[in-house]
């Protein structure tokens, strides 16, 4: 009898875990046919970054008192640098351009919603130099921490759960939510939440840089595969 209950329990457990893992992490507009190539306009780099477990990072990085500010700045720089490597012409818009737009949530899956400021319907965003970028990659949020899972941040059924800080850190992770915005027709072409893990033994700035490199690679890869679908 005990064996029977054991088997049933294992089956039930398999059933539930099986269900939990099938999230849809991106959404695309039917008009999204081609990923940006060669040229990219990007916005949201200044304010998007946030570091969780600041203390853990502060103990390992040499930023003095203001680890949160300096480390996010470092990451933003690293990400921008990485984007510059990927696109021959990279245009970075200041965050102030988006500041007045309402924050909206986009639905990716039944329980997955991502929040971010999107330009208003009928309003075209002009670059400071007067040009009109056809597409803008809006970076909404980059969460940097240790062993993060994106469902804990974006599944509304899980976001109120408190997570324990694990003592042994296997990875540093970044969770990035972004939207490729059609500036001419004011519609989200491709929206996604990505999770990037980078294993660390002893944390250095190189690891953070590497994490940002992987993040940008992941974003670019997803934008390409999203267009192909």
């Amino acid at each position: 009898m005990a064996r029977l209950w054991g088997t049933l329990f294992v089956m039930a457990a398999l059933l539930f875990t099986g269900c939990a893992d099938s999230y849809q992490w991106s959404a695309k507009h039917p008009a999204y046919k081609q990923a940006p190539y060669g040229e990219l306009t990007i916005a949201g780099l200044q304010k998007a970054f946030v570091i969780t477990r600041t203390k853990w990072f502060a103990n390992r990085l040499d930023f003095g008192d203001s680890t949160q500010i300096k480390a996010t700045e470092f990451c933003a720089k690293a990400m921008e640098h990485e984007f510059r490597g990927g696109y021959s012409k990279l245009n970075v818009l200041p965050d102030s351009l988006l500041a007045n737009f309402p924050e909206e949530s986009q639905k990716l899956d039944d329980r997955i919603f991502m929040k971010g400021k999107l330009p208003e319907q009928g309003v075209i965003v002009n670059a400071p130099d007067g040009t009109i970028p056809p597409q803008i990659l809006l970076i909404h949020e980059v969460i940097i921490g240790t062993d993060l899972k994106r469902e804990n941040f974006f599944d509304y059924a899980l976001i109120h759960n408190e997570l324990e800080d694990k003592r042994d850190v296997k990875n540093i992770s970044a969770i990035v939510s972004y939207t490729l915005w059609d500036n001419i027709k004011q519609r989200p072409l491709f929206s996604a939440v990505d999770e990037i893990q980078h294993p660390v033994i002893k944390l250095t700035l190189n690891d953070l840089e590497q994490l940002m490199r992987l993040t940008v690679q992941q974003i670019r890869k997803n934008m390409y595969t999203g267009a192909g679908k």
Partner: protein, 428 residues
């Protein structure tokens, strides 16, 4: 003849071209079932300097096109045309209405625009935007934040013909009478007929009549032929004795008394008593039966079902419970046999006739429905399969050879019954 077929072919081609041409003049990308009110208030909203249609003429087009529309009122929607947020959304719509997009992708996203749409109060907004050789059309009402339908019509210089085109493409549906202020208030306060809480516990008692037979429908008759055709000779002998139906008539009326209850309209139980009467199938050719007056068995069964149900409320006065049940039962047979009065002493065969086991144990399963009218009066239909059996392995006894083997190791039948029930909820 050859020429004739050629002409016919060309005619078909021309017809095709003509038909596809007219289909192209009006293109409806999507159309949800929005409500068109009688005497509708139609507000024409356009991002263009000049509206492409004339409101008065459009009203006449509507009346020509849809006889049920009553007296619609049409006017330009100046309030929205002077509003920045609404005009931005209008420009956005004219940029974005394309074939292949669903309504959701055209949703208004600005909070101020959403509020405007929700405040429409029974008015219908007709969005018209000039797109070169076509006019984009979209229809909004207060119920959603996205267009209820969208499409294009071919642009024409004749505003009357244009109005007719729009009216026939988008306003051809049945109309509904608009509620008055009082009716609306009443509707808001009165409880919803279809909304009803499932009671914690519902119970019922019922009586049913039905029919049972060995042959399970949709299965080959071959499976049962031997049992059904079997006859008892010499008060005890049949070809085989596995089933009771080798000895008794299987197809008989069936009567049931039952009572049950269900928790949360989902899981429940039922206790029942079933009665039926089975004649023994004696072999008429056998002379030994000449002494016999009658011989039959009354079958009494009591049992317990567990049931799972699902409730539907198609009407206010009707609850429909579909259920499946699974249960066990004990079957008892009481024999009623008598020899003719003229016969003083029954034969030896009579004394050694077959016996039934008491009780037989069995299982039953099936499904059915309870239609409960006015919450109390139920009509129930159910069907299923029930079995009776006995332990095959029994201690051999010295009498085994002389005594008849007790019969009916496996007896299965199919039943269907219709019952009258009374339902009540003893506690809320």
């Amino acid at each position: 003849m050859k020429h004739l077929s050629l002409i016919a072919f060309v005619a078909v081609i021309l017809m095709q071209a003509f038909l596809s041409g007219t289909a192209h003049a009006k293109d409806v990308f999507f159309d949800s079932h929005w409500t068109l009110w009688q005497n509708a208030d139609i507000l024409i909203w356009t991002p263009d300097k000049e509206p492409a249609i004339d409101p008065k003429e459009f009203c006449l087009s509507l009346r020509r096109n849809n006889s049920g529309i009553g007296e619609p009122k049409c006017r330009l929607f100046g309030e929205w045309e002077r509003d920045t947020v609404a005009m931005r959304y209008a420009t956005w719509l004219s940029n974005n209405i394309e074939p292949g997009l669903n309504a959701h992708l055209l949703k208004a996203r600005h909070p101020a625009m959403m509020a405007k749409l929700q405040a429409l109060e029974d008015k219908i907004v007709l969005f018209i935007a000039d797109k070169g050789d076509k006019l984009q059309i979209a229809i909004f009402d207060e119920t959603t934040l996205e267009p209820r339908s969208a499409g294009t019509v071919q642009k024409k210089n004749d505003k009357i013909a244009l109005g007719d085109d729009i009216a026939s493409a988008f306003f051809g549906r049945n109309t509904k009478r608009r509620l008055t202020k009082e009716e609306r208030l009443k509707m808001e306060t009165e409880p919803d007929d279809l909304y009803k809480e499932t009671p914690t516990f519902r119970s019922w008692a019922g009586i049913s009549a039905g029919y049972a037979q060995a042959h399970i429908p949709l299965t080959p008759y071959n499976w049962y032929k031997r049992k059904i055709r079997s006859r008892v000779s010499n008060y005890r002998a049949t070809r085989d004795s596995v089933s009771l139906w080798n000895f008794m008539d299987d197809s008989t009326p069936l009567f049931t008394l039952y009572a049950g209850g269900i928790w949360f309209g989902f899981i429940g139980g039922e206790i029942f008593y079933r009665y039926s009467n089975h004649d023994v199938k004696i072999d008429e050719r056998d002379e030994v039966y000449e002494e016999l007056d009658h011989w039959n068995f009354t079958q009494h069964e009591i049992g317990l079902n567990v049931m799972f149900a699902r409730t539907y409320d198609p009407f206010k006065w009707l609850d429909l419970h579909l259920f499946a049940f699974l249960g066990f039962q004990y079957s008892f047979y009481s024999e009623d046999i008598d020899v003719k009065d003229s016969k003083k002493k029954p034969s030896r065969e009579y004394q050694t006739r077959f016996r039934t086991e008491d009780p037989y144990k069995g299982a039953l399963f099936g499904f059915g429905t309870q239609c409960v009218f006015l919450q109390h009066y139920g009509l129930s239909v159910r069907t299923g399969i029930s079995s009776r059996g006995k332990d095959v392995y029994v201690e051999p006894s010295p009498d085994a050879a002389a005594e008849p083997t007790t019969i009916g190791a496996t007896t299965v039948d199919w039943f269907v019954s219709v019952g009258l029930e009374y339902h009540w909820t003893p506690f809320k």
